[in-house]
Amino acid sequence: MTETLTATKVAVTRDDLIDFVYAEARMLDEGRFDEWLTLWATDGMYWMPLEWNQQDPILETSLLYEDQFMLRLRVERLNGARTFSQKPKSRCLHVLNRPDVDLIDNEAGRYKVVTRMIYVETRLDEQFELAITATHDLAWQDGLKITQKRVDILNCDAAFGNIQLLP
């Protein structure tokens, strides 16, 4: 164990990855969006496909495929004074299943974690739930950073009303 540490300098463990995913969900639930933005790699992308098993985020419609500029816009909009659809504000809750760590490659500094969860969002008298699978691609860049978060909604082909926060 000590040998691995000196060889690669990075020794991210299964627990580190699972803790990361839980911490990310908690930031969203508590509305700590500015802190949440610091979890991302500068070229990190948030992808929410429209179709089941969708492979192409560029040449097909997705629900979301957002770079850091868009995510920052989203966060600043949520805090804005004239954000009418957020008067009053929505709240959300991520109820996580135990994350599956699918890849730990400390040599390359690459990791993949797959987490099933129930996402709940509410505003005024409305509340809805989504069953989702979140796939985090992480990289070691002086700390763990998200290079891609893919969120697959179980009923992605259903008609939705507003989904205003981030599953």
Binding site: L50, T61, L63, L64, E76, R77, F160, N162
Partner: protein, 454 residues
Amino acid sequence: MHYPETREAMAALVQPQQVHRDLYISPEIYRLECRHLFSNCWLYVGHDSQVPKKGDYYTTQLADQPVIMVRHTDDQVHVLYNRCPHKGTKIAIDRTGNTGKFFRCPYHAWSFKTDGCLLAIPLKKGYEGTGLDQAEAGRGMTPVGAVHNYRGFVFARMAPEGIPFDEFFGDSLSSLDNMLDRSPAGRLEVVGAPLRYMHKCNWKMLVENQTDTCHPMVAHESSAGTAVKIWESMDKPEGTPTPPAMEIIAPFMSPYEFFEKMGIRTWPNGHGHTGVHHSIHSKYSEIPGYMDSLIAAYGEEKAKAILGENRHNTVYFPNIMIKGPIQQLRNFIPLGADKTLVESWIFRLVDAPDELLARTAMYNRMINAPTSMVGHDDLEMYERAQEGLHSQGSEWVNVQRLYEEGEDFDEEAVLNGTTERQMRNQFHAWLKFMTAGMPPSTPRGKGATKEAAE
């Protein structure tokens, strides 16, 4: 409120500068719209690239009517009511598929050719001597009144008799033509599934919003205004590429003057568009190789004319809009007085560079998804209006911006881009097609007799 099915009763709801709130909130008016308005108009069904091979089908809704669009053995696209003539079972419920040479009802195995004709019934001797060939059930699946395939876009009129396709759309087809001509091959293909966005509001709110040029800088300040602010505050070393969000979302923040000068054109029968002279799509970056391929296909003059049009939103009355420069079509499917399913479809320009499709897909998700920041604020406004209209503060919705005495909606007109003339044009068409099959007024005494009988 009970409404007799007469021209008189409907006309009382539409005044030159205002319309009655029951057009938005009355379940009875919605039922009358389904029976009359949506039946008498030409509605968009789907695109023929969704059913490329014989036997391919696509199921959808025309207002409250479930239908199947199917490619028949003669290669023509047919539109049939999605109902078995026997017990009413929906024949197909998956959104797309291939049925081969015939449909087979999963309940009792009655089968039908893909033009709807009855093909076979198991144990048919049970109907011998019962006169099935005279019965409605014996005629097979019912086709809609009329179908027209315009350069791949399939429209249907449910009423068997009524206005012909060319007369209904007239010169408004120039917007569809421009969207198609942007493909060097003159052809579009549907890409993927549509965004499906449920709105708890009346369908007309969405249609009116398409030419409502006084709302973007207000309702969308939180997204477009914030995008501009972030971009201005950022450190931008030379060569920093403009984020796509700036190209797509920021123009929503343009000042009133920009929208005034863009112009609005209205056509007869409720059609119209914003962006006569320029639009929020005018300043999109050039895509390498695209102009060359258009020039090769059309010659320089026509190619420049095609890209010189930057029409913003074109409304095809009653319930779709298209965006030519973006190759997008949005279908506002009315499911109730206060329930509208919005489907946003995108198209590939056949033989054009993929970068155009990438921009189209991006626009679709950034502006029209249930997860879109721009969509959130629009839906918030519609739903607040749907609730607010129930108040007794007033029974009327105002549409009088830039109203002119004696407006003639049977004439094409180009006006200041902030006029609400296109909304008035839609209500004029609403009344026309709502009442096309209605008597002028209730015959004297008839209403009284009916009441007495009840």
